[in-house]
């Protein structure tokens, strides 16, 4: 029997029971659509996490001072005064793979503006901080190198802080009091949203690190130095150059360990990406359970069909159909069911994913891979679940099949 003829007769057989064929396909449609949508959501989440990590600046390194050693007991990293402003300047001038540096210090506290107050983080940073973070000012200005040198009492507000302290007025040129120290507001940062860990990156006040150290911090030393490499490929070079430079400057003997720590974003990024990948796999596996159930639906209906059409099988055998002709016929019917279902499911999955993007504001990404995967999966399901009923049909004894009522 020719392929085209088999296909035509398979379509005709399915057409005879339109409702049943549709319901059988529905199982596959839902399964495939769910797989596509879940993969789209998972991959969308993965993408947005990557985006957020990139928003920290992927070519960024952080240099921390080492832990203080007291009688062999190491205290927390950063507790030793091993990272100075001179070190930071040396990194900027002597490491060719380094583009910008921004020494950093922290303070926290209550910020007051007029009759409003807000508790937030105060970040002491260098003049190049926004270059490193790739973070523009929405309006107003950032402070200059001169402000850093003279430890001017100026600051830039994050979006969240600005919204809370100046809900209705323009904060630029106004004064905020941070722990009773008046700071002049120079500008407001653009909104950066949450970071990969879910913290609000806009809930921050940036001020020259010198001012923070002298006026606000209990800790009078640099907490860290933020460094950006010239390019993503130069991260390793920059890390090596900084290590060599600081070891030389700190006169560390070859057998002694570093008295500082360098961390980069790649480690954090890969951890976060791994998490979302697990999420994707989890979602897709749950969805594929419904695809499996759809496959069992096909098998069920094909078994019913074989029983119902036993007489037809007998007739076909009596006029010369071989076992393999019958096998092919029923296998093709199962395959047509699963392929039609799969194709419709892909359409529904794609439409559904974009609906999720639109209404739930979740990023979704549909890749060719997920479409090929679900398509291949539906073919495999058609063959796998269609084979047993088809074989059952093919193995029928023609005499018994003809007599079947």
């Amino acid at each position: 029997m020719k392929t085209l003829n088999i296909l035509l007769s398979a379509f005709r057989a399915l057409q005879r029971n339109k409702m049943r064929s549709f319901l059988t396909m529905l199982g596959i449609i839902i399964g495939v659509a769910a797989v596509i949508a879940m993969l789209a959501i998972g991959q969308g989440a993965e993408y947005s996490v990557k985006q957020q990590i990139a928003s920290l600046g992927t070519n960024v390194l952080m240099v921390f001072p080492g832990a203080q050693q007291q009688a062999g007991v190491r205290v927390a990293a950063g507790s030793a005064v091993t990272l100075t402003e001179d070190d930071a300047q040396a990194i900027a001038t002597e490491c060719p793979a380094v583009q910008f540096i921004s020494p950093g210090s922290f303070a926290g506290g209550q910020v007051i503006a007029g009759n409003l107050n807000w508790n937030t983080h105060i970040q002491g940073v260098g003049a190049d901080y926004l270059e490193i973070r790739d973070w523009p000012v929405e309006y107003g200005d950032f402070f200059t190198e001169q402000d850093v040198k003279s430890a001017t009492k100026v600051c830039i507000l994050g979006k969240t802080v600005a919204n809370n302290l100046f809900p209705e007025s323009d904060p630029v040129d106004q004064t905020v009091r941070i722990r009773n120290v008046p700071f002049k507001v120079l500008g407001v940062l653009t909104s950066k949203g949450q970071n990969a860990m879910g913290q609000d990156q806009d809930d921050v006040i940036l001020a020259p690190y010198t001012t923070v150290i002298r006026r606000l911090a209990h800790w009078q030393n640099l907490a860290y130095v933020l460094v950006s490499a010239v390019s993503l490929q130069d991260i390793a070079n920059a890390q090596q150059q900084i290590t060599d430079l600081l070891r030389m400057r700190h006169k560390i003997q070859p057998y002694e360990p570093d008295d500082f720590t360098i961390r980069n974003q790649t480690d954090i990024a890969s951890a976060a990406t791994a998490t979302t990948q697990i999420l994707t796999i989890l979602l897709a596996s749950i969805a594929s359970v419904s695809l499996l159930v759809g496959g069992i639906g096909i098998m069920n209906i094909m078994l019913v069909s074989v029983t119902e059409r036993t007489r037809e099988i007998g007739i076909r055998m009596s006029i010369g159909a071989r076992a393999r002709d019958i096998l092919t016929q029923f296998l093709i019917e199962a395959l047509v069911l699963s392929l039609l279902g799969g194709t419709t499911g892909i359409i529904f999955g794609v439409v559904g994913s974009s609906a999720i993007s639109n209404f739930a504001k979740w990023p979704t990404i549909i890749t060719a891979f997920s479409i090929i995967l679900s398509f291949g999966f539906s073919i495999a399901i058609g063959i796998f679940f269609g084979f047993y009923p088809a074989r059952k049909a093919a193995m029928l004894n023609p005499i018994d099949a003809l007599r079947y009522e």
């Binding site: 076909r316 010369g320 005499i399």
Partner: protein, 263 residues
């Protein structure tokens, strides 16, 4: 297979079917059922044989073996020189496709499939081009007088017409024999005679017809009677005066006339 290609058996010129000492034993659990106990029949090309017998006489079993739907337990069955008992399932399917045309009591047409598609069906399982297939199906339907109903579905046709479609389907691959199993069992007497007329017509054109029936009236249309009883052949004789369906039909009152008489 066309008739030129078939090779007559040595010493039996024109012999189509040669069945010798055929036995068939069914195993029903512990019990052995001897359906056929040594049956020998030879059928020559162009014969019109009626196989008769009560139910349980073994005629259905014999028919199944004759139609290559079943294999004998012992004995030989040569169909046009081929030892059918030695063939595989697929080879038997090919024989059924090319050399045997079945006509059943219950017509056994595919429902929701038009007359012409039903007739085309055997050709799907052999190598016939799509174009030729349609032409041959129309030709076969014309032979049984249904040339004007090729697109009708079985539920739009009367029993007699359905049986004619079935006969057209049996004819379409130019088989060596037509096997009709109680072909008139579901038909009224007039339609039965009409169907027998078609078989006689085909037989006149050289087609071998083997008919299984338990109705003596119907058997009268055949040229030879083989009577089965208890798995054996009780008698095998030539019918000296086969009835001619055309004549019977002429003498038969139509249903309308019968009603008029009754009124």
């Amino acid at each position: 297979m066309s008739q030129e290609q078939s090779t007559p058996l040595p010493g039996a010129d024109g012999e189509l079917i040669r069945i010798d000492h055929l036995t068939k034993v069914y195993q029903l659990g512990e019990v052995e059922v001897h359906a056929l106990r040594g049956v020998s029949v030879h059928v020559a090309k162009g014969e019109f044989v009626a196989i008769m017998g009560a139910s349980g006489s073994g005629k259905s079993t014999f028919m199944n073996i004759l139609g290559c739907l079943d294999k004998p337990t012992k004995g030989t069955y040569d169909l046009e020189g081929i030892d059918v008992a030695k063939l595989t399932r697929d080879e038997l399917a090919a024989i059924r496709n090319k050399k045997i045309g079945f006509v059943f009591q219950g017509f056994n047409l595919l429902s929701r499939t038009s007359a012409i598609e039903n007739v085309e069906l055997p050709m799907f399982y052999s190598t016939v081009s799509n174009k030729l297939r349609k032409a041959k199906a129309i030709e076969a339907l014309n032979k049984v007088g249904l040339g004007d109903r090729i697109d009708h579905y079985p539920n739009q046709l009367s029993g007699g017409q359905q049986q004619r479609v079935a006969i057209a389907r049996a004819l379409v691959n130019d088989p060596s024999i037509i096997l009709a199993d109680e072909p008139t069992g579901n038909l009224d007497s007039r339609t039965s005679v009409e169907v027998m007329g078609i078989f006689q017509e085909l037989n006149r054109n050289g087609i071998t017809v083997i008919l299984v029936t338990h109705e003596p009236d119907i058997a009268q249309f055949a040229k030879r009677h083989v009577l089965f009883r208890d798995g054996k052949i009780k008698s095998d004789k030539v019918n000296p005066n086969p009835r001619l369906a055309d004549e019977v039909l002429r003498e038969m009152p139509t249903i309308d006339e019968e009603q008029e008489e009754a009124a």
